[in-house]
């Protein structure tokens, strides 16, 4: 198992370097530079433009800039935002818990609903439930997040008044963040009602963010289950007289889980992408919106650092998924 994990780590390290290069080059490929955008319609003289570019070190050849960036990176310096003048790492980790909290709850909803829905749809193939799940999944998958989010806000917050419109917690509550996770911090604060408020603020954004992964997981579980259910060993298990629950739970589900876990792992990347829109709609102070703002302003250090850190998170999740495969199916860790 250890060598399996080491092999996986061996792939991650060059990938990480690849990401540093992509992140570095990508933002510089976009036309326009941060100094010009900062000046806007007001403009600035060519001399001042050159002086500011030199101040940020953007007048140096791109390879030299990349070298400096890598050198700083190895000493743990992710750079300083040219807009807010704050260290990128500090900004990232101030905002990251909000995205993490939203994503964890969203993936929990997606798995908790998507997995059983897919399983039941597979075991009750062509039933009303099956059709309903598949239609719902297709609809969820095709739903533009922005529109879906606004629709939920207008209905549940505007018309019914059941949920708050946006934000992470009611303005009633104020406490210094300890972990950055509002659900935990609200409990730690000891303020009556704070946890409930944080939870109620999480409902709509996490449902919106969970929608697409939920649809994908339900569809994937259903098709994986259908495939496994037609296998000989399932028929054998049934022939041996095993109960329906045991056949599904022990034999079918365990084998169907491999593609499902792959999909769940991949959905982590999708979640970060979805978080950009979800965070904007729900005024959720996470890294999604921060990244978009940074790209629009050509805040090179923030984009580079942000992309790298997000990529690192996704790689770690995928490593965990790979390790999980190994546990679920020993064949994989021996043959991969």
């Amino acid at each position: 198992m250890l060598s399996y994990i080491l092999r996986k780590l061996g792939v991650i390290i060059p990938t990480f370097f690849g990401v540093t290069l992509v992140a570095f080059v990508f933002i510089r490929l976009l036309p326009g530079d941060p100094v010009l955008l900062m000046a806007g319609e007001r403009g600035m003289s060519d001399e001042r433009h050159a002086a500011m570019m030199a101040e940020f070190g953007y007048d140096k050849p791109i390879l030299v800039q990349y070298g400096i960036y890598l050198k700083d990176l190895f000493s743990g310096d992710f750079g300083t935002s040219i807009i807010t003048k704050q260290p990128v790492l500090k900004e990232f980790f101030t905002l990251f818990p909000a995205t993490m909290e939203l994503s964890v709850v969203a993936i929990f909803i997606a798995v908790a609903v998507g997995l059983p829905a897919g399983m039941i749809a597979a075991t009750k193939r062509r039933s009303f439930f099956d059709h309903a799940v598949m239609t719902g999944a297709l609809t969820g998958y095709s739903m533009p997040i922005f529109w879906w989010g606004l629709l939920l806000i207008i209905f549940f917050s505007g018309i019914l008044g059941w949920t708050p419109v946006s934000g992470r917690i009611s303005l009633l509550y104020y406490f210094e963040p300890v972990t950055g996770f509002m659900l935990i911090d609200s409990l730690l604060s000891g303020q009556a009602g704070a946890f409930r408020s944080a939870l109620s603020h999480l409902i709509l954004p996490s449902v919106v963010l969970a929608t697409i992964p939920l649809a994908v997981i339900a569809r994937q579980t259903r098709s994986a289950m259908l495939e496994v259910l037609s296998m000989d060993y399932v028929r054998t298990a049934k022939a041996k007289g095993l109960g329906h629950g045991r056949v599904i739970g022990m034999h079918a589900l365990r084998n169907a889980m491999i593609p499902v876990i792959t999909v769940i792992g991949l959905q982590v990347g999708v979640l970060f992408a979805g978080a950009i829109l979800t965070e904007t709609i729900f005024s959720w102070p996470g890294i999604g919106k921060w990244m978009v703002d940074s790209i629009f302003r050509r805040d090179y250090p923030s984009v580079q650092g942000g992309l790298l850190l997000i990529a690192a998170m996704v790689m770690i999740v995928n490593l965990v998924v790979d390790v999980l495969y190994g546990f679920i199916n020993p064949q994989i860790r021996h043959t991969d």
């Binding site: 708050p164 419109v165 946006s166 934000g167 104020y174 904007t280 729900f282």
Partner: protein, 532 residues
């Protein structure tokens, strides 16, 4: 309705928990702002969102604009004298002004001349110990040409400061009312420098303004409390909360649900519904901006004033207003907005007469004209949809036999390329005023110095230039008004631009908000505002 009232009551009551206001009647106003500030030192930035969160609540300037107008009024300076040659401005400072007391700083003295000298010399003097702190790029200070204009800022005595200029500059006073001219505490700066943490001055601001910063959570919330010793009297609001809400539709839902009292930048499509809502008042005013299309007057046939006039007559501005501004605009006839003093009402706009336009072009021997129309890639208050505007202009041009091709570039590139003296085509662009002075529009956008830069029409017309240069050095406002009115007449005759529109700003506020005034500069000022 009941729920709404309960929620706002709860938020007001929340001030007891949140920012420690005293008494059961603490008033908290929640403003659903559109974004996070870039920082809290207004000298570094140019964005209105940043100024709303910093200079407009936390700081004061020597002079300030009367709320809701572009008129200059005394603030930290009670009076000022201008030398005969217009190069020396002596400010007599207000006494008894207190800085905020915060967790990290307790002032031991009142505001005085040292604070003024510190605030300006930090930006002006490259060797000042604070010049490079926090990155030290002073965009507006540079953008308003202050390094060229200023010779020195001197303390005469504790309550007198002298600004010495290299040349007379009538808009100087208006410049000092701008956000970059906010006054910081020199005592706080010295303390932080001694402690080895000078950047704290920019992160945890200390000013003399009506509100002081309590807490900021990026992209979430900013909390302020009223400055108890504010020199003009404590604010009627005890607490001010900015609930950062980037999406306009969500801001509207929050306003409806009673989760905020004031919201900026509504979707034009929502305004009609807002006006019908009995819980919401929609304030409106023309913005301090102008959207225009600048011809390149250096290139034939646009160097011919009759050709430019003909093209102006071909543009159906009302159709643009309906389709692009959806009612949130007003036709522009002058290069300055009506909210600025010296706006010339008497100027007559070019009428929409495509047939006449066609004939004028024929008379000038211009046939089969092909031109480019540049469409900005971004949304701006003075032009919410440049692409659509360009398409409408393209259709108008086709009516008179002119073939217009629409081009666009990434925003930074657009701004850069459109400055080129040899640029091919007419550029859609606009301007939002900085200091309420006509010079800030007329000299910046149409002066000879701006050719190859901010003067996108590349237009240098001596009679116009003489008028605006004269107005720059005269300090008498009546005389300046007369000169600028004449300049607008010359502009209209020469038509270097097709003036398109000024935006109309809508500001929805809940009905319990009292005395909120739209700021012509686009700011949100909460001193003077109360809650019923």
């Amino acid at each position: 309705m009941r729920k709404t009232k309960m929620l706002l009551a709860a938020v007001c009551g929340a001030s007891l928990l949140t920012v420690g206001a005293i008494g059961a009647q603490a008033k908290t106003l929640v403003y659903c702002s559109e974004g996070s500030p870039e920082g809290f030192n207004p000298a570094f930035y140019t964005a209105g969102t940043t100024f709303d969160a910093s200079s407009r609540q936390i700081f004061n300037k020597l002079v300030e604009f009367e709320r809701g107008t572009t008129n200059i009024a005394p603030a930290l300076a009670e009076t000022w004298d201008i030398s005969e040659d217009g190069t020396e401005y002596t400010f007599h400072l207000r006494k008894g002004v207190k800085f905020h007391t915060t967790e990290g700083f307790t002032p031991t003295r009142d505001f005085n001349a040292d604070d003024v000298v510190f605030s300006f010399m930090r930006q002006f003097d490259k060797d000042h110990p604070y010049h490079k702190v926090s990155g030290g790029s002073y965009e507006y200070f540079n953008g308003m040409s202050m390094p060229d204009l200023l010779k020195d800022v001197k303390k005469v005595d504790d309550y007198t400061v002298k600004f010495i200029l290299n040349r007379p500059e009538a808009p100087m006073i208006a410049n000092l009312g701008m956000d970059f001219a906010s006054i910081h505490s020199a005592e706080y700066a010295d303390q932080m420098m001694d402690a080895g943490t000078p950047e704290q001055v920019d992160l945890k601001p200390v000013g003399t303004g009506p509100f002081q910063l309590v807490n900021y959570q990026k992209d979430a919330v900013i909390r302020y409390k009223a400055h108890p010793d504010y020199w003009a009297g404590k604010a009627a609001l005890d607490n001010l909360v900015f609930a950062i809400t980037p999406d306009a539709s969500v801001r509207y839902q929050k306003l409806k649900a009673g989760e905020c009292h004031v919201m900026p930048y509504p979707n034009p499509a929502d305004v009609a519904a807002m006006k019908k809502d009995s819980e919401i008042k929609v304030l409106e005013q023309e913005g301090l901006n102008v959207g225009y299309m600048a011809y390149n007057t250096k290139i034939a046939p646009f160097d011919n004033v009759r050709v430019r006039k003909a093209l102006n007559k071909a543009i159906n501005k009302q159709a643009i207003l309906d389709a692009v501004f959806q009612g949130a605009g007003k036709i522009a006839k002058n290069p300055i907005p009506p909210t600025i003093w010296s706006y010339n009402e008497a100027v007559e706009d070019d009428t929409y007469e495509p047939e006449v336009a066609k004939k004028m072009l024929e008379e000038e021997g211009v046939t089969n004209l092909k031109m480019k129309v540049w469409a900005m890639p971004v949304q701006r208050p003075y032009n919410p949809n440049a692409r659509r505007m360009a398409e409408l202009i393209q259709a108008d041009m086709a009516e008179i036999g002119v073939e217009a091709e629409i081009v666009s570039y990434e925003w930074g590139e657009y701004l850069k390329r459109s400055k080129d003296v040899n640029r091919d085509g007419a550029v859609l662009l606009g301007w939002t005023g900085d200091n309420g002075d006509p010079d800030n529009f007329l000299a910046v956008l149409l002066g000879c110095d701006g050719v190859g830069g901010s003067n996108r029409a590349q237009w240098c017309h001596q009679p116009f230039e003489d008028l605006i240069q004269k107005a720059k050095v005269v300090s008498d406002k009546a005389e300046r008004t007369r000169l600028y009115e004449q300049a607008q007449v010359v502009f209209k005759e020469q038509a270097p631009w097709a003036t398109i529109a000024h935006s109309v700003v809508f500001k929805p506020v809940r009905k319990e908000v009292v005395d909120f005034k739209i700021d012509p500069f686009g700011g949100h000022i909460f001193y003077g505002v109360d809650l019923k």
